[in-house]
C-alpha cells in the first residue's frame, strides 16, 4: 500500500518544522522527468492538449534555480495560502500551493451537528460569502426532505444572495486594488461593503456569519422599511461602480499589470474543473444561475458576463460588471417581492414563533423536539450546487435517517480553482504572482474547510 504514496526525504538543511515533506515542491534533483513535466504548470498535465515537450526545461540544474516560500503569512496571499515557487531570476518556473493551514475539520464537525445547527457551521467556510454557503446547504437539506419553500422565502434568499455577491466582489475589488498598490480602492471597496453589511445586520442580526438562510426558509422576515434600504444600496453601489471604473479601468499602471497577464484558455479551465469568474473570463458562458436555474433566477433578467482572453483584466472586468448585474437582480427582487410566509409552515422543520410557545402545548412540544433532537431527514444522498461568487459551490449530503448528516461534503470553488495557479503563474514574474493569487480569488476558509 505504501509504495503508491509519494514520499520525499525531509531535507536536513531546511529547518524541519517548516518542511512539508512530499507535500512541498521538491528540488529538481529529486524530481523525475515525468513529474517535472506535470509540475511545470498544470496545463502540461493535460495530455495532448497544450503539452509541448520542448517547453519543459529538464536539463536545468538545481543551482540555476531557487525555491522560495511565499506565505502562509504573506499579506498578499489573502489568508494562509503557502506557495512554493521555483524561480529563475525573477521569473516563476514551477509553483505548488501548499494548503491546510486553516483546516479545522468542518466536514467532520458537520457530522456532529444537527441539520438545524448545520447552517452555522457551513456559513463559516467561505466567510466572504456566507449566504451562498447557507443557501447551498439548505437547498441540499430541502431536497432530501422533499419540501418546497414558500415563494417569499425564495425571493428573499435570492435578494440576499445577490447582495452577498456584491459584498464579495467589493471585497475582491478592494483587496485586488490593495495588492496592486491602489490603496484608495481598498478604502472605497470596504466603504460600500459597509452599506450592505449594515443591512445584513438589520435583517439577520449579524454582519458576517449570518446563519440567515436555514433549511425551510430564512431566519427572519425582512425588516420594516427594507425597500428604502435596498433602494439606497442599489443606487449607491450602481453609481459607485462607475467611479471604480474611472479609478481603475483606464489607469495605466493598473492596465500594465492586468492586461494580458496570466491568460488561461477555455480548454485548460474546463480540464482543471475551474468554475466561476475564472472560467467565464475565457469566454465560456457558464453560470449556474442561467444554466441550471435554482431559486427564481429564471424569472429575473440579468446578463452572464464573459471575457475573451482569460487574463487578469478579464477577471477584473467580469467581477466589476457582475456587481452591476447583481444590482439589477436586487432591483427586480425589490419590485417583485411576493407576500406570504418567509419559511415553510411545517412544524417538523421550522420552530414555532416565540409567542405561540407560551399558549400552545403542541408548539412547545415541536419546539422542544426540534431543538433537542433536530429534524428527521429521510435516508438518501444528494448533490446540490449554487453559483457562489467564486464558482460552483456544491454540497454532497448523505443522510442515514437520523437528525445529523451522515456525511457532509462541500465542494469549495476556491479549493478547485487553486489548481489553476501553477498554470497561470508559469513564466510570469514574481510580481505577477501577486496579481494571479488576487484574481483567482481563493478564500482560504473554503479551501481548507
Amino acid at each position: 500500500m505504501t509504495d503508491r504514496i509519494r514520499t520525499a526525504p525531509r531535507p536536513d538543511l531546511l529547518v524541519v518544522e517548516t518542511s512539508e515533506g512530499a507535500q512541498g515542491l521538491q528540488s529538481r534533483s529529486e524530481t523525475s522527468k515525468d513529474e517535472l513535466g506535470r509540475e511545470v504548470g498544470s496545463v502540461l498535465r493535460v495530455s495532448g492538449l497544450t503539452l509541448d515537450p520542448n517547453d519543459v526545461d529538464f536539463d536545468r540544474q538545481d543551482d540555476e534555480t531557487m525555491i522560495i516560500n511565499m506565505g502562509p503569512a504573506h499579506p498578499s496571499t489573502h489568508g494562509v495560502l503557502r506557495l512554493m515557487l521555483e524561480l529563475d531570476g525573477e521569473f516563476v518556473l514551477r509553483t505548488k500551493p501548499v494548503i491546510g493551514y486553516l483546516h479545522t475539520g468542518m466536514e467532520k464537525t458537520g457530522e456532529q451537528l444537527t441539520y438545524t445547527q448545520g447552517a452555522t457551521n457551513v456559513t463559516r467556510m467561505d466567510y466572504v460569502s456566507p449566504i451562498a454557503n447557507e443557501l447551498n446547504y439548505s437547498m441540499a437539506v430541502e431536497k432530501l426532505l422533499g419540501i418546497e419553500v414558500p415563494e417569499r422565502a425564495i425571493w428573499i434568499r435570492m435578494m440576499m444572495a445577490e447582495l452577498n455577491r456584491i459584498v464579495s466582489h467589493l471585497v475582491w475589488m478592494a483587496t485586488n486594488g490593495m495588492d496592486l498598490g491602489a490603496t484608495s480602492m481598498m478604502i472605497y471597496g470596504f466603504r460600500e461593503r459597509e452599506l450592505v453589511l449594515a443591512f445584513f445586520e438589520k435583517t439577520a442580526g449579524l454582519r458576517l456569519n449570518l446563519n440567515y438562510v436555514r433549511p425551510g426558509g430564512v431566519a427572519a422576515d425582512l425588516p420594516d422599511g427594507w425597500q428604502d434600504d435596498v433602494a439606497v444600496i442599489c443606487e449607491t453601489i450602481d453609481a459607485r461602480t462607475y467611479e471604480y471604473d474611472q479609478l481603475l479601468t483606464g489607469q495605466p499602471i493598473f492596465r500594465e499589470r492586468m492586461v494580458g497577464v496570466a491568460p488561461i484558455t477555455a480548454e485548460e479551465a474546463i480540464a482543471l474543473s475551474v468554475t466561476g469568474p475564472v472560467l467565464r473570463s475565457t469566454g465560456v458562458a457558464w453560470d449556474l444561475r442561467r444554466a441550471m436555474p435554482y431559486l427564481a433566477y429564471d424569472q429575473v433578467e440579468f446578463d452572464v458576463i464573459v471575457g475573451t482572453y482569460g487574463d487578469n483584466f478579464d477577471r477584473y472586468a467580469i467581477r466589476l460588471n457582475e456587481i452591476r448585474e447583481s444590482v439589477k437582480i436586487v432591483r427586480q427582487c425589490l419590485d417583485m417581492m411576493p407576500k406570504g410566509d418567509y419559511r415553510v409552515q411545517d412544524p417538523k422543520v421550522t420552530p414555532p414563533p416565540r409567542a405561540r410557545i407560551g399558549e400552545s402545548m403542541e408548539a412547545l412540544i415541536h419546539h422542544f423536539k426540534l431543538f433537542t433532537e433536530g429534524m428527521q431527514v429521510p435516508v438518501g444522498e444528494v448533490y446540490s450546487a449554487v453559483e457562489s461568487p467564486r464558482g460552483e459551490l456544491g454540497c454532497y449530503l448523505v443522510s442515514d435517517g437520523s437528525s445529523k448528516p451522515y456525511r457532509l461534503h462541500v465542494r469549495g470553488p476556491s479549493f478547485v480553482n487553486l489548481q489553476a495557479i501553477p498554470l497561470l503563474m508559469r513564466g510570469g514574474s514574481l510580481s505577477d504572482a501577486i496579481t494571479v493569487i488576487s484574481t483567482v480569488d481563493p478564500i482560504m476558509g473554503e479551501v481548507d474547510r
Binding site: 500500500m1 504514496i5 498535465r45 457558464w286 451522515y406 456525511r407 489548481q419
Partner: protein
C-alpha cells in the same frame, strides 16, 4: 432521465437519483471505463470527487446487484452543453480501498482525489502526487473515517481529554 452512453461497460446499475439526471453504481473495475464512456459522451468536467465511509451503514439501501463496501467514491460529472449532471457511486473496497485515478481524463480531480486520500485513506492508483493535502505530512490516521478517534490528539488551550 438521460440514457447511459452507448458503449458503457456491462454491469453498471443505474437509477434515477435525487436532483441529478443519472445515478450510476460501479465496481472498481467498471469505474474507469464508465467515466471514459461518459467523457466521450460529452461530459467535459469532473465537478466533484469525494469519499464516503459507510462503516455504520453497511446495510444501506442499494439497488439489487450492488455489493456494498465500506468506502465509496462519489464522482459528479457535468455536461456543460446539454446541462446534465451524472453521479457515479463507486464501491471502493473495505480494507484497502483503492480505485483508479481519473487524472488522465480530468486533470482537475487532482486536488479532490488528494483530499479523499487524506481524509479517508482511499488510494487512487496512478495519481501523480498521492500525498496528504489538508493534514500535515506526518499525521496519523484519516480524520473523516468513522472509526477515527475524535479527541485522540490533545488540543492546545483545552483540558486535553484522554483517548476516547
Amino acid at each position: 432521465m438521460i440514457a447511459l452512453p452507448a458503449r458503457s461497460p456491462e454491469g453498471v446499475i443505474t437509477s434515477e437519483g435525487l436532483a441529478c439526471d443519472l445515478l450510476c453504481f460501479a465496481t472498481i473495475e467498471q469505474y474507469p471505463k464508465l467515466v471514459r464512456a461518459f467523457k466521450n459522451a460529452g461530459f467535459q468536467m469532473a465537478i466533484d470527487v469525494c469519499g464516503v465511509d459507510y462503516l455504520e451503514q453497511m446495510d444501506r439501501p442499494l439497488p439489487e446487484g450492488v455489493v456494498a463496501t465500506r468506502f465509496e467514491v462519489v464522482v459528479n460529472l457535468l455536461n456543460m452543453v446539454k446541462k446534465e449532471r451524472v453521479r457515479i457511486r463507486v464501491q471502493a473496497g473495505t480494507d484497502n480501498p483503492e480505485v483508479a485515478s481519473l487524472f488522465d481524463l480530468y486533470p482537475g480531480v487532482e486536488a479532490m482525489e488528494r483530499e479523499a486520500y487524506d481524509m479517508f485513506g482511499i488510494l487512487f492508483s496512478k495519481h501523480p502526487d498521492m500525498t496528504r493535502i489538508l493534514m500535515p505530512e506526518d499525521w496519523e490516521g484519516h480524520p473523516l473515517r468513522k472509526d477515527y478517534g475524535v479527541g485522540r490528539v490533545p488540543v492546545q488551550f483545552k483540558e486535553a481529554p484522554g483517548p476516547r
